[in-house]
């Protein structure tokens, strides 16, 4: 896993969270895990195609998800309904889009596949033997993680 991938997704996350949510994002620990797994309640998967292939998994707790949508909408959110999950998917999609733009600076040309939002624990079995990198990120409203599973063509 190259540092370019991590930097591209980390700086895209920072930019989009600042702009859309007024949140500063700090990088926490890095973990290497088998497959894409999340025990958090709200997960968004983005497929990546092109020079790099694979998936990105964004994982948020329920309380952080509700707070993020509250910041954007300016109103209380009580449950993860389709409005909340769609908004979360769009935020991840915008982060992905910005990350793809950042990756072009390292000469990687990629595309992203529209986001898939999964409410509840997520466990991908298809890549059980592969390693993914998990970046923990901290904000004032909670901690979330971005798992990166990418291979070069």
């Amino acid at each position: 896993m190259k540092a370019e991938y991590i930097n591209s997704f980390y700086s895209a996350t920072q930019d989009v969270f600042k702009l859309m949510l007024d949140l500063d994002v700090e990088r926490g620990k890095l973990d290497v895990v088998e497959g894409l797994i999340s025990s958090k309640e709200a997960n968004v998967i983005l497929g990546v195609t092109g020079d790099l292939k694979g998936s990105i998994l964004f994982s948020f707790t329920k309380s952080m998800t509700l707070e993020m949508v509250k910041i954007m909408a300016g109103m209380e959110m009580n449950e993860i309904d389709n409005f909340v999950s769609s908004a979360l998917g769009e935020v991840a999609n915008i982060v992905g889009g910005n990350a793809i733009t950042n990756l072009t600076e390292y000469n990687y040309t990629c595309d992203i596949v529209p986001p898939q939002v999964i409410i509840g624990e997520y466990r991908s079995l298809s890549m059980a033997n592969e390693k993914a990198l998990v970046i923990s990120m901290n904000t004032d409203i909670g901690e979330f993680s971005v798992s990166i599973f990418l291979t070069e063509k």
């Binding site: 702009l19 954007m72 909408a73 109103m75 389709n82 769609s86 908004a87 998917g89 769009e90 935020v91």
Partner: protein, 139 residues
């Protein structure tokens, strides 16, 4: 309140229309998200959606006229992005009309409108204000 002061471009007409646009979207989302029975509020949902759709077109037209007036160099890209957005909303509305206005689909539309508007006004439109300032004009 969905509007934030940081979204201000610095051009009076554009800012007042953006404030109105955020307020209409906020109203739409409030109606979609309130606890009332879906069938009861469907007419109101459709009405506010139509209202907002109209206002988006009205605002884009005014903003594009303003960009022409000031010889904004990125006007073509900006117009294309407006057009793509209008097309995608129209596609959505057509889908809703064909497949029925379900609560899930309307919520999805509300979320897309909100995130698009925040990104567009918060980032792309800000460049108009920066251009005006660079040219020494009062934005």
């Amino acid at each position: 309140m969905m509007w934030k002061e940081k979204y201000r471009v610095g051009v009076g007409l554009i800012d007042s229309q953006h404030i109105e646009l955020f307020s209409r979207l906020s109203n739409f989302i409030q109606i979609v998200q309130n606890e009332n029975d879906w069938d009861e509020k469907l007419d109101e949902v459709k009405e506010t959606m139509a209202f907002m759709q109209e206002y988006v077109v009205f605002h884009f037209d005014d903003e594009e006229k303003y960009m022409e007036q000031i010889d904004y160099p990125h006007i073509e890209l900006h117009k294309k992005i407006h057009k793509d957005f209008k097309d995608s909303i129209n596609d959505y509305v057509n889908l809703l009309q064909e497949g029925g206005f379900t609560e899930d689909k309307i919520q999805e539309l509300g979320a897309k409108l909100m995130t698009w508007l925040i990104m567009h006004v918060g980032k792309m439109d800000q460049q108009i204000g920066e251009y005006v300032k660079e040219k020494g004009g009062q934005a």
